[in-house]
């Protein structure tokens, strides 16, 4: 399984979609095409989420972002795009300056990404069927895309939003498993020692169960943020509706005469 090329193919497919869409949003001039490119990019990101094992987040991305937010944007485009086109060119100087700054930004980001060797290396993974049973956990190198074996993230996410962290319990089990086998050690030792390895709760530290529980009380889930965000969304809903229906008089616009109305019919853009 470790040599499977399929996740890699899919990754590059979705990654290229996401990046091409993003660049398209940046470079395209017509706002409708920009919306289309954004759609492609967000759908690609959803695909990336799927192959990273975050199926629920990917679906939320599809549903809320692609099916909701971009539709909203398209709605806005249709409402406002009628006379926004002419004379909107950003000067070439601004383009050049912007792209230069953007290139620098990208370079900094890439440097910071690639400067951390563990991020570039393949991580030791615990096969999912072995660990919770308390048996011998098999540690394999290489990325493990074992969708069938993974239990799915919906349940744990739901528990987490209710304030119960079930995933931490699993990981507690797995941390008790003999993870610090020689192979894993070897793998870790490949990475140069840096401050990341100095974390107190690194994998080599076998924790006392009671101590683990005490730690879990500190991060026992996301009930409060969930509630805050719910209230926040209600406020946003009300606020957006209020803003959109505010009583601002429409300026008297130069409308075509009836004669011209007949001639301009059929041209929506």
């Amino acid at each position: 399984m470790s040599g499977s090329i399929l996740p890699t193919i899919l990754f590059f497919l979705f990654a290229s979609l996401a990046c091409a869409g993003a660049v398209g949003v940046l470079l395209l001039q017509r706002i409708v095409y920009m919306a289309g490119a954004l759609l492609v990019s967000l759908a690609g990101v959803a695909g990336l989420f799927f192959i990273a094992g975050a199926d629920f987040v990917g679906l939320v991305q599809l549903m809320v972002y692609v099916g909701g937010t971009v539709v909203l944007l398209a709605f806005g485009v249709m409402l406002t795009a009628r006379r926004s086109q002419p004379g909107w060119q950003v000067p070439a100087g601004q383009w050049a300056a912007g792209l230069a700054v953007g290139a620098v930004l990208l370079a900094v980001l890439l440097w910071s990404v690639l400067a951390v060797p563990p991020w570039r290396s393949v991580w030791p993974t615990v096969s999912a069927e072995g660990a919770p049973s308390g048996g011998v956990a098999t540690v394999t190198t290489g990325s493990a895309y074992q969708q069938e074996a993974q239990p799915g993230t919906i349940g744990p996410l739901g528990w987490a939003l209710l304030g119960v962290r079930t995933d931490r319990a699993i990981q507690q089990d797995s941390s008790q498993a003999p993870l610090d086998s020689s192979q894993a050690q070897a793998n870790f030792s490949q990475a140069p020692p840096n401050r990341f390895q100095a974390r107190p709760d690194s994998a080599q530290t076998v924790l006392d169960p009671s101590q683990e529980d005490a730690r879990q009380t500190g991060r026992s889930g996301y009930l409060l943020p969930f509630e805050i965000i719910s209230v926040h969304l209600v406020l946003v809903l009300i606020g957006a509706a209020f803003l959109a229906r505010a009583r601002i008089p429409f300026p008297s616009s130069p409308l075509p005469a009836v004669g011209e109305a007949g001639l301009t019919n059929g041209q929506a853009g």
Binding site: L79, T80, R82, R83, A244, R245, R247, I248, P249, F250, S252, S253, L255, P256, A257, V258, G259, A261, G262, T264, N265
Partner: protein, 416 residues
């Protein structure tokens, strides 16, 4: 092209230009850009080649301006170049959905000018035909109104029944649309044998269809919500715009030329027993088949205009039943069609009759020759259409077909 527009009768601006009047903005609506959009002349629900210029803000219609004339065929001018007898088939083409009524109005006007009186049997036969055609016309109005609101099936039911009426007409005069049957001086031919039995059979099996229509449209909740309180036409406005027919009666005025018209017309209907369908304080007298008025309905709205037509169908069925009896009881002939070269006196006559769409008026100015000097047609659809921009102000785009359909215009009569 531009010249024609500037000369348009439908220049509704108060400043003498064809620009739209600046209206105060609606305060509580999502305002965005305003679009000027053409509804028609090729549009499914403008009932022909009517063109409506809508100024909309999203779904809200700020202003409607009807543009007419796409079906203008110089009917009046043709009438000034033909003898009155020769012009009779042209009246078929005015309101082609109620051609018998058009024939009748023209024939009566010519007879009024000439001072003729047709035999009693002919009068009853004319009433029979006119009321059958009123049923047919109202069936089209009702069915297409359902279609305007997105309900297709009542349309098929209405046309199924209308086909039966057209079959009857075809048996009488050989035509299914432009009959040229009622002519000055009488009718073209007496009824074929067995026709009255066929007609009675139709009248017997017809009322269940009305019950279906009431179930599918009149009392349907969606239909009520789409029509009740929409396009409310106050009585004063209706009168000042010259609205007539069901449109006027739905606003609450009990006014029907079959009872309130000139003697030459009312004497035809004098023996008949029927109600003038108009709501009195929002209620109608019981006619045995029509349902009660819903609470949402407002006097003069689209629902009442539709409902008045539905009830007039019932009344017309009643009249036709009586007409069959009177026709059988009457003796004598059915009249003699006038000669083509019949000379007209140097006089003028104007007569309005109650056509299904509204009051239809003909003016004939004779000049001593068979060809009149002037023919003028007062069309009910035309006057009813004039109130459209008043009704549509501030409504939604979806209400425009609902209001146009409730006015029940026929472009042949509007444009003449």
């Amino acid at each position: 092209m531009d010249f024609r527009r500037r000369k348009s009768l439908w220049n509704i601006s108060n400043q003498g230009s064809t620009r739209f009047i600046a209206l105060p903005p609606e305060e509580f609506d999502l305002q965005t850009d305003e679009i000027v959009v053409n509804m028609g002349p090729q549009h499914p629900s403008t009932h022909g080649v009517l063109r409506l210029i809508l100024r909309t803000d999203g779904e809200v219609v700020k202003q409607v301006q009807p543009e007419i004339g796409y079906l203008h065929r110089c009917a009046e001018k043709i009438g000034e170049n033909l003898t009155v007898r020769q012009f009779t088939p042209y009246t078929d083409r005015l309101d082609y959905l109620a051609a018998m009524n058009m024939n009748l109005g023209w024939a009566l006007c010519v007879e009024k000018l000439l001072g003729w009186q047709v035999p009693e049997k002919c009068r009853h036969l004319r009433v029979l035909m006119a009321e059958l055609d009123r049923i047919a016309s109202h069936l089209v109005a009702v069915g297409t109104y359902g279609l305007d609101l997105g309900s297709f099936t009542p349309f098929m039911y209405c046309f199924r029944e209308r086909e039966k009426i057209l079959n009857l007409f075809e048996a009488v005069c050989g035509a299914r649309l432009t009959y040229h049957y009622i002519v000055p001086g009488g009718v073209m031919a007496d009824l074929p044998p067995g026709w009255l039995q066929e007609c009675s059979r139709f009248l017997d099996q017809f009322p269940p269809t009305l019950a279906d229509l009431h179930a599918l449209l009149t009392t349907n909740y969606i239909f009520i919500r789409r029509t009740a309180g929409i396009g409310v036409l106050p009585l004063q406005t209706a009168i000042s715009y010259g609205c007539t027919g069901p449109v006027l009666r739905a606003s609450g005025l009990r006014w029907d030329l079959r009872r309130h018209g000139e003697p030459i017309y009312t004497q035809m209907y004098a023996p008949y027993d029927f109600q003038i369908v108009a709501p009195q304080e929002g209620q109608y007298p019981d006619d045995g088949i029509s349902p009660a008025v819903p609470d949402e309905a407002v006097l003069g709205d689209c629902w009442h205009r539709f409902y008045v037509r539905m009830r007039e169908i019932v009344q017309s069925v009643q009249i036709v039943r009586q007409a069959i009896r009177f026709y059988q009881e009457a003796s004598g002939t059915v009249g003699e069609p006038m000669k083509i070269q019949q000379k007209l006196p140097v006089a003028e006559a104007y007569l309005e009759t109650e056509s299904p769409k509204g009051q239809l008026g003909f003016l004939i100015v004779g000049q001593g020759t068979p060809i009149p000097r002037r023919v003028r047609i007062r069309s009910g659809s035309f006057c009813n259409l004039s109130v459209l921009s008043e009704l549509c102000r501030g409504c939604l785009v979806a209400d425009v077909p609902a209001i146009v359909g409730s006015l029940d215009i026929v472009l042949g009569e509007v444009d003449r």
